[in-house]
């Protein structure tokens, strides 16, 4: 591919999704877009780019975008965010709020493991004093991956990464090598197409925002804008959870890290600073 063709593709992808394709990602462009070219009856990437230069909006451009998203996810990924949710966020809300109702947003839901993990976590609390009524909304820019999320079907490999065996037995039905999530869990999550570059105005408010392992693909400017937009869809006592290699530090003053809780952020001036058990510290003390 010529440097100018690469630049054209990188600009297209960045403009539509925020995803930055640096020169070193050339191999990724090759391996992911060659199949797109073939599926569309095009000989190679040169032809693909030529066609996109004529029509940069339409099914072909959409297919290119789909192909350039990285959708890897797994159940209870990194564990800490889910500990933070269960052992810090819920107790904090329980103490400071009148009702046990929540609206949770998984802003890059991918194939559904993150919202379904939350749905299972909350389901486990049903019928106890810790029960919460929650709306879980999962959004993503990839329509293909949202279809997979909605279907709730996972391979044997996927259900073995991060999902405790007790939860597998309890919330999945097996059909050969395919594991289908319980319809009751599936019904707890609403999936929608949403591009993080778009206006958040119609989304409503979210008490908790999981925006994990998506900002890593964006440049600083885009990250800043998204943090600003997220801040506006949260109540003052809301929480934001980021991926293991993501941070708000140096990018926005709107959020501040919650001490002792890796990956957890509160609106500046929002969260009531008090010590609820820090799961990380507990772990450190126990080992």
């Amino acid at each position: 591919m010529t440097p100018s063709d690469f630049q054209f593709l990188a600009d297209l992808v960045k403009q539509r999704s925020g995803i930055v394709l640096s020169e070193e990602k050339g191999y990724l462009v090759d391996s992911r877009l060659n199949p797109v070219a073939r599926q569309n009856g095009l000989a190679d990437l040169d032809e693909l780019v030529a066609k996109l230069r004529v029509a940069s909006i339409g099914p072909l451009a959409d297919a290119v975008l789909e192909a350039m998203t990285t959708n890897e996810s797994f159940f209870f990924r990194d564990k800490t965010p889910f500990d933070n949710f269960e052992k810090h966020i819920l107790p904090t809300f329980a103490e400071n709020r009148a009702t046990k109702k929540l609206r949770i947003w998984c802003a890059a839901a991918s194939s559904g493991q993150e919202p379904y993990s939350l749905a299972m976590l909350l389901k486990e609390k049903e019928g106890t004093a810790d029960a919460w009524q929650a709306d879980i909304i999962g959004t993503d820019i990839s329509k293909d991956i949202l279809e997979k999320a909605k279907a709730g079907l996972y391979s044997q490999f996927e259900v073995q990464r991060g999902l405790p065996i007790q939860l597998l037995v309890k919330y999945f039905k097996q059909d050969g090598e395919v594991w289908a999530i319980d319809p009751a869990i599936r019904a707890k999550v609403i999936y929608k197409y949403f591009n993080l570059l778009d206006s958040f105005a119609a989304l409503g408010k979210f008490d908790v925002v999981f925006c994990r392992n998506v900002l890593i693909y964006f440049d600083q400017e885009t990250k800043k804008e998204i943090f600003e937009k997220i801040a506006k869809v949260m109540p003052p006592d809301g929480f934001l959870l980021l991926g293991a290699s993501e941070t708000t530090i140096g990018l926005t003053e709107r959020f501040k890290p919650v001490k002792g809780h890796r990956g957890l952020y509160a609106l500046d001036g929002g969260e009531t600073t008090k010590s609820v058990t820090a799961p990380n510290q507990m772990k450190a003390a126990a080992s």
């Binding site: 044997q156 490999f157 065996i165 007790q166 597998l168």
Partner: protein
């Protein structure tokens, strides 16, 4: 260093599991069937056991039941690792005292995920 006993009648599987678990900082012992594993546990109880189901002499589930009946037999964290990949077998294993369950084929990611699930890594 924590010891993990790898119980499988296939030498190839034992070798693959050993490699992965050594990278996760375990000291490895091996047994080719349940009886051999039980004998080893009686002389030194390991911290973790990676356990196959179908084996000659004594199979995995019988070994697990015998192990849990031993003094200190409740100590090791037992992770099944087998081609028996249906809910019935999984449930039976959990009832017999297994802590986690891996459905073969496995790889490093799965072993690591499952071992961290039960607090071993």
């Amino acid at each position: 260093m924590k010891q993990c006993l790898v119980v499988d009648d296939s030498r190839v599987i034992r070798k693959v599991a050993r490699q992965i678990l050594e990278e996760l900082s375990f000291d490895i012992a091996e047994a080719g069937d349940g009886q051999e594993a039980l004998d080893q546990c009686r002389s030194r109880m390991p911290e973790a056991i990676l356990l196959d189901w179908n084996m000659p002499v004594m199979n995995g589930i019988d070994f697990l039941r015998a192990l849990r009946a031993e003094t200190n037999g409740s100590q090791p964290v037992v992770v099944f690792c087998t081609t028996e990949n249906d809910i019935t077998h999984i449930t039976e294993a959990m009832q017999a005292g297994a802590n986690e369950y891996i459905m073969k084929p496995f790889d490093r990611d799965i072993i690591e995920a499952k071992f961290s699930e039960v607090g071993l890594v």
